[in-house]
């Protein structure tokens, strides 16, 4: 007995797997779902040729993407399949594809970014209307980001330390799934027409309207195959060094390395989970089964941190209307911005980095710190949003969340920093690469300068400039700012802004001069904020900030209250409560607070409501006696019911 395809009720589905990020066949759970039990599968990628020309992605990013798609196509060919590059917008084209290909299942990787979530919701709706089942899987991040936020009481964590604490309380990430193979494909096939190349082929850069004359070959070739070669090399080198610390910066680390992975993680040519578990295995092998420290995964966790912070914040890439971003009166100065972006600042260290970025699409993370600091709080006082846009165009691994988050961080616009410290555009480079080879490589015009002057050629005597065949002010620009003066001004400005912020929060009076006090998250992070009168318990200093979330999520009969308690050190803190909560179950309670770092969220949860006024007196006391050298994991505290109870 046989049945006709498509006519039976029990028919196997026809699937589409929609590639966006996650451009890989290994560890791709959504792709596996597309194939599972399916009759046909088609892997699609949407490109809008009109958008390509007008978008602000630079040619390097486009080339990287096209190389990824080429690689994906050739790997799919090995499985008798192909990649379908569709010209157009998903929302316009999907309905036609569903009909034409008789689709009943659509799969894609979960996108955590607000714009992506919105787009995906619209497509899901479209699909449902067309009777297409939609399967979404998380594989671009290690964790389910919503779980992290949930664990933090509904707010994304705002410090990396806090983030690490949350992560350490969660189960380890899921193992990567098997690579798509002929075995997994089973009887699932991809119908490919004669004219596939014309209709669905991967376009070239010229077809997208880029002028590729004189375009140097790619320093970072795109694609999953390259990514998998690199991760092996990356691990080999780590195994060879047998040292898992963050490598110390030197002149060499400034250059693109054949073991670099960040662009591959950005496009999902490399699974972060694969990277995670390979690192773990290697560590265990080398360090004889010791549990690896969180710092081993630094690069992956920072990425995760910013994705978490951004996932519920559609204005994460803006200053205005962004609840976690401090409003700083940045200067609008298009000429200065252009000088920075086009490597004409007159500071060789900055210009060399910006040239490398433009030519190769990647710069070392400390180099990013240097140019970001220079543009924003260090020297030019220009908005981080402008810098972020330039990075978005040029930087291969620039991701919406990570890019915006890092810029906010480096410009002191959000997250937590202790004191204002500017990278010197002369001294920082000199420390890293005293000889100046990096500068000579990217700014050949300065090649003739001796190491002594290569970071500040304007200070070189005329004779040295003449001998170097480069007169400053003629062949290479003079420095666009006086760094000493600019950093003096800017540090003062930052201090002013943060002092004002703290004052509004009642932190007032007792400032240290150079250090930022415990809290300076923008108000919006703390719903229902009100400042607490000085309790007099904190040795005269006023260093804690308590707010409660009056509008906390209310599940039926189950109220949650969050007490945000920001502490700088051990102090007695009074939390005076006049809420209607009867049973107090303090999660992550006292011991958490005594082991506090910068920020703690205590969650107070009650299960039924009764009108009571209750005073919670919380004494966070110290140190050496109770300190046993280990961070304790959260314990539960049950507080008895009663009025005016002192705890």
């Amino acid at each position: 007995m046989f049945f006709l395809k498509g006519d039976s009720v029990n028919m196997a589905p026809n699937s589409i797997h929609w590639f966006r990020k996650g451009l890989r066949l290994h560890d791709n759970p959504a792709l596996q779902e597309a194939v599972r039990g399916a009759d046909t599968v088609r892997c699609v990628y949407f490109l809008d040729p009109w958008f390509a020309g007008s978008s602000n992605l630079g040619v390097h990013r486009w080339r990287f993407l096209l190389q990824c798609l080429d690689d994906l196509d050739s790997n799919l060919r090995k499985l008798n399949s192909r990649l379908f590059v569709i010209r157009g917008q998903p929302a316009n084209v999907f309905p036609r594809l569903f009909k034409e290909w008789k689709i009943s299942r659509l799969t894609f990787e979960y996108d955590s970014e607000p714009f992506g979530k919105e787009r995906d919701a619209a497509i899901k709706k479209l699909a449902m209307e067309a009777g297409v089942e939609v399967i979404v899987k998380i594989s671009h991040t290690l964790y389910n980001l919503d779980k992290i936020t949930e664990l933090n009481g509904g707010q994304p964590p705002l410090t990396y330390k806090r983030f690490q604490t949350l992560i350490s309380r969660m189960d380890p990430p899921e193992m990567p799934v098997e690579t798509l193979s002929n075995t997994i494909m089973g009887c699932c096939v991809t119908p490919v027409s004669e004219d596939h190349g014309d209709k669905y082929g991967v376009p070239s850069l010229e077809e997208l309207g880029f002028d590729i004359e004189g375009l140097p070959s790619a320093v970072w070739p795109g694609g999953e195959t390259e990514a998998l070669t690199r991760i092996e090399r990356h691990l080999e080198r780590k195994a060879w060094v047998a040292n898992f610390e963050r490598p110390r910066m030197n002149a060499n680390s400034l250059l693109a390395s054949p073991t670099g992975l960040s662009p591959y993680l950005r496009f999902g040519c490399l699974s972060c989970r694969l990277f995670y578990f390979k690192l773990t295995d290697l560590y265990r092998k080398v360090k004889k089964n010791n549990t690896p420290p969180l710092s081993l995964y630094g690069q992956l966790l920072w990425r995760e941190f910013f994705y978490t912070a951004a996932t519920t914040n559609p204005r994460f890439d803006k200053m205005e209307g962004n609840p976690i971003c401090v409003r700083i009166p940045w200067d609008k100065n298009p000429e200065a911005l252009a000088k920075w972006a086009e490597a004409k600042t007159g500071f060789p260290w900055i210009d060399a980095i910006m040239t490398q970025l433009r030519q190769e699409g990647w710069i070392h993370h400390l180099a990013r710190h240097a140019v970001a600091c220079f543009l924003t709080r260090g020297d030019l006082w220009i908005s981080w949003e402008e810098g972020m846009k330039v990075f978005e165009e040029l930087l291969l691994d620039a991701d919406w969340s990570v890019n915006a988050g890092s810029w906010m961080w480096l410009s002191c616009s959000s997250f937590f920093q202790q004191f204002f410290h500017c990278y010197c555009p002369v001294g920082f480079g000199r420390r890293t690469d005293p000889n100046g080879d990096f500068i000579r490589r990217y700014l050949p015009i300065l090649r003739g300068f001796p190491a002594k002057y290569i970071y500040d050629p304007w200070n070189a005597p005329d004779s040295v400039q003449a001998a170097a065949k480069c007169i400053i002010g003629v062949h290479y620009p003079k420095p666009m700012v006086n760094h000493a003066e600019a950093s003096r001004l800017n540090i003062e400005r930052m201090k002013q802004i943060y002092q004002q912020l703290s004052r509004y929060r009642g932190l007032g009076k007792n400032f240290t001069i150079f250090f930022c006090h415990a809290v300076f998250f923008p108000l919006a992070c703390f719903p229902g904020y009100h400042h607490m009168p000085d309790t007099g318990h904190s040795s005269g200093l006023y260093r804690c900030n308590v707010s409660h979330d009056m509008a906390g999520p209310q599940h039926s009969g189950n109220r949650h209250r969050n007490v945000y308690c920001m502490l700088h050190e051990y102090h007695t803190v009074n939390i005076t409560y006049s809420l209607y909560i009867p049973i107090y179950n303090i999660l992550c309670g006292v011991q958490q607070a005594t082991c506090c770092t910068q920020e703690e969220v205590l969650q107070v949860r009650g299960s039924e409501s009764r009108n009571e006024i209750l005073t919670v007196k919380m004494t966070l006391s110290p140190p050496l006696t109770s300190y046993n050298g280990k961070l304790q994991r959260s314990r539960r505290f049950m507080l008895p019911v009663g009025t005016s109870r002192v705890w």
Partner: protein
């Protein structure tokens, strides 16, 4: 507009508030609805003080009574003019009509005024225009704040000076004046002194290139109530310190000095130890805050003799040698920030600082290097008095004794609280 300043008003609150509430309640009509007309003005005023200006303005349109309260002088004592141009700033400006209205109706009520000005010359000019119209007011505090580049410096000096002197002449009781990065000059300071010498308590004038050491000396000589002063190093002189420590002078609380090099190889004068000693004798508790933005080779005249500095900030690279001298010459040091240093670890220097600076309670290290064991030793010596300890992760160089993973336990143990190094994102 920010919330109005409440400082000082608390005393005027009076005991009547609860009483008034009760009255309001008793006056409730039968059906339990509150008659808002009966809301006493005192309470309305209290409420208005907590509202942003825009909300107050909306509320003022409710009825004549509320409108009257809106114009109560108390609500207009404190005002912050924000002057921004769309071409040079992302932030909104105070509406010109509001400015006009304030000048017309409330200029005599203004007491605490600040101007926040963006980087454009137009904005600085607008600020001067407003200043020169403040003829019938008596300000207590005035702040001219450049939020981006120092735009007051781009104005014609005479224009700026004539606007500023309007305030000096008309306000006979100025107590705080913040005029950093402006073209204020000696003659205008003389006007200030002539009119406000009895009341002036705070003067901040970092980076005012038109003021000479003689100009600031005149202020110190005459204004005996001066408690806080901020200026650049080139204005600091032995005479100035002696004037500030004269018998008639109140105790100084805060002296901030910015040491900025305008061009490489610049020579800096030095201050006699005897002048500093006189200062400390006169004001034993004063804070001396010094910001250094110098090249490494310009530190010659500094830290040779003992300096009563309490807060030290090195904004550019500072040599090992100078930091070594800091340990020897700064016994009053409380806070220290080193943004950058050369390539050799700062081990002995830090330990010496821990040994000699017995009041050190805060330290921040940026691009420096310290070996882990020296750092642990430093923390052990200082112990719990280090309330601020922010060290960038890269600063700590692992050695045979401590690796990056155990250092934070060791340091936490000595501090008596959990401590971690500061981290910057790896991207």
């Amino acid at each position: 507009m920010k919330r109005g300043q409440k400082g000082g008003d608390d005393a005027e609150e009076g005991p009547g508030a609860p009483e008034l509430c009760k009255r309001l309640r008793q006056d409730d009509s039968e059906d339990g609805a509150v008659d808002w007309r009966l809301l006493p003005e005192e309470i309305l005023l209290q409420i208005f003080q907590y509202l942003p200006l825009l909300d107050r303005a909306f509320a003022s349109q409710v009825c004549r009574g509320w409108n009257q309260t809106f114009h109560t002088p108390e609500l207009w004592r404190c005002f912050e003019f924000e002057l921004n141009q769309p071409a040079s700033s992302y932030l909104k400006a105070t509406h010109p009509d509001l400015i006009k209205q304030i000048i017309k109706r409330h200029s005599n009520h203004l007491q605490y005024v600040s101007f926040k000005v963006d980087s454009s010359t137009e904005s600085a000019e607008a600020a001067c225009d407003i200043l020169s119209q403040l003829v019938n007011c008596s300000l207590k505090t005035l702040g001219l704040i450049s939020t981006a580049r120092p735009s007051f410096m781009e104005l014609p000096k005479s224009h700026f000076i004539s606007a500023l002197t309007v305030v000096f002449v008309n306000s006979k009781s100025l107590s705080s004046l913040k005029i950093d990065d402006t073209p204020v000059d000696d003659p205008s300071l003389k006007v200030l002194v002539a009119n406000n010498s009895d009341t002036l308590k705070l003067l901040k004038m970092s980076s005012c290139p038109h003021v000479s050491p003689a100009g600031i000396l005149c202020v110190a000589d005459q204004c005996h109530g001066l408690r806080e002063l901020a200026l650049n190093y080139h204005l600091l002189s032995d005479e100035l310190l002696l004037a500030l420590s004269s018998e008639r002078h109140v105790h100084l609380e805060h002296l901030r000095i910015d040491v900025v090099s305008e061009n490489p190889g610049q020579q800096f004068h030095s201050i006699k130890k005897s002048s500093w000693d006189a200062m400390v004798r006169h004001s034993p508790k004063f804070n001396l805050v010094m910001y250094f933005f110098l090249y490494e080779n310009e530190f010659g005249p500094f830290f040779g003799d003992e300096v009563p500095v309490t807060h030290l900030y090195f904004g550019r690279s500072v040599s090992k040698e100078v930091l070594g001298r800091v340990g020897l010459t700064c016994p009053r040091l409380v806070e220290l920030v080193v943004c950058a240093n050369g390539l050799r670890p700062l081990d002995e220097e830090l330990i010496r600082i821990a040994e000699r600076c017995r009041q050190l309670s805060a330290i921040g290290l940026g691009e420096c290097e310290v070996s882990c064991s020296a750092f642990v030793e430093f923390v052990k010596m200082c112990g719990g008095r280090l309330t601020q300890l922010s060290i960038m992760e890269e600063v700590l160089v692992p050695d045979s004794k401590y690796g990056p993973d155990d250092i934070h336990w060791e340091v936490s143990k000595h501090l008596g609280r959990v401590w971690f190094p500061d981290m910057m994102p790896t991207w």
